[in-house]
C-alpha cells in the first residue's frame, strides 16, 4: 500500500495513519512523523510553493526508493502546499512494517529527502514581510548519511 499526495488544504494525520493501519493488519508497528508550522516565533504564515511536474514524481520516486531499501508493508507521504498558518500540519510520513526499525528508518529516510532533496520552496511571513527560507547545511549532512550506508 502506497499513498503519496500533495494537498492544498489542511489534512488529518490521525485519519491517514488509521487508514494505513487498517490496510496493513500484518504489520507489527507504524512509525510516523508529523511536521507543522511552529507557533511562537513570530511567523504569521508559511507559503510552500512547488513545481507540479517535478514535485509529485519526485515524491513517488522517493517512496519507491524507501520501499526498495526497507521491508515495508505500507507507506504514506502527504505534503501540504500553498499558504498555511502556525500550528497547521505541513507533512506526514508514516510507514508500516513487520519490524520496527524498518518503519522508523523509512520515516527518517523520507523526511531527510523531503527536507533537502524535494522540489519545495518555502517563505515565511514575519511582521508582514515575506522571507524565503534558505537551504540548511544541517539538512544536507542529514541527507548525506544515507549515501554512506549500504542499507
Amino acid at each position: 500500500m502506497r499513498d503519496i499526495r500533495l494537498v492544498a488544504e489542511p489534512f488529518d494525520p490521525n485519519a491517514e495513519i488509521d487508514a494505513l493501519a487498517m490496510a496493513t493488519p500484518d504489520a507489527g508497528g507504524i512509525a510516523s512523523f508529523v511536521g507543522k508550522v511552529r507557533c511562537g516565533e513570530g511567523v504569521e504564515a508559511l507559503e510552500l510553493s512547488h513545481y507540479e511536474p517535478l514535485t509529485l514524481p519526485g515524491m513517488e520516486a522517493l517512496a519507491a526508493s524507501a520501499e526498495a531499501r526497507f521491508a515495508l508493508d505500507g507507506l504514506v507521504v502527504i505534503h501540504r502546499v500553498g499558504a498555511m498558518e502556525p500550528g497547521e500540519n505541513i507533512v506526514l510520513v508514516s510507514a508500516a512494517a513487520r519490524h520496527r526499525r524498518d518503519a522508523i528508518e523509512a520515516v527518517d529516510f523520507c523526511m531527510d529527502h523531503l527536507k533537502s532533496a524535494a522540489w519545495f520552496w518555502k517563505r515565511e511571513n514575519r511582521a508582514g514581510e515575506w522571507h524565503w527560507i534558505e537551504p540548511r547545511a544541517e539538512d544536507h549532512s542529514d541527507l548525506a548519511r544515507w549515501a554512506d550506508k549500504s542499507h
Binding site: 532533496a117 527560507i133 534558505e134 540548511r136
Partner: protein, 80 residues
C-alpha cells in the same frame, strides 16, 4: 506560440513575476539575454537547475526549447 519561462521560489521575486512568455525557439544564451544581466548572473550559478517540460537538464547550457515548451528555473530547495 511561444516558450513559457517559470521562475520558481525566490527567483520569482528577482524576475518580478512567476512566469514570462518569450519567442520560440529559445536556447540558454537567448534565455540569459532575455532576463537581464543581474538575473542572468544568478542563473549561471551551479546551484540553479533548469527543467525543460518537466525534466531536469543535466547540462542547462544545452537548453533548446521549442514552441509550447515550458522552461522552469529551479533555485535550491528550502530546508527547515
Amino acid at each position: 506560440m511561444a516558450v513559457t519561462i517559470l521562475f520558481l521560489g525566490p527567483l520569482r521575486d528577482l524576475a518580478g513575476g512567476a512566469s514570462r512568455d518569450v519567442a520560440a525557439p529559445l536556447d540558454w544564451s537567448g534565455l540569459l539575454d532575455n532576463v537581464g544581466e543581474d538575473l542572468a548572473d544568478v542563473l549561471k550559478g551551479e546551484r540553479i537547475h533548469v527543467a525543460l517540460s518537466g525534466k531536469v537538464l543535466i547540462d542547462k547550457a544545452a537548453l533548446y526549447a521549442a514552441d509550447g515548451d515550458e522552461v522552469a528555473l529551479l533555485p535550491p530547495v528550502s530546508g527547515g
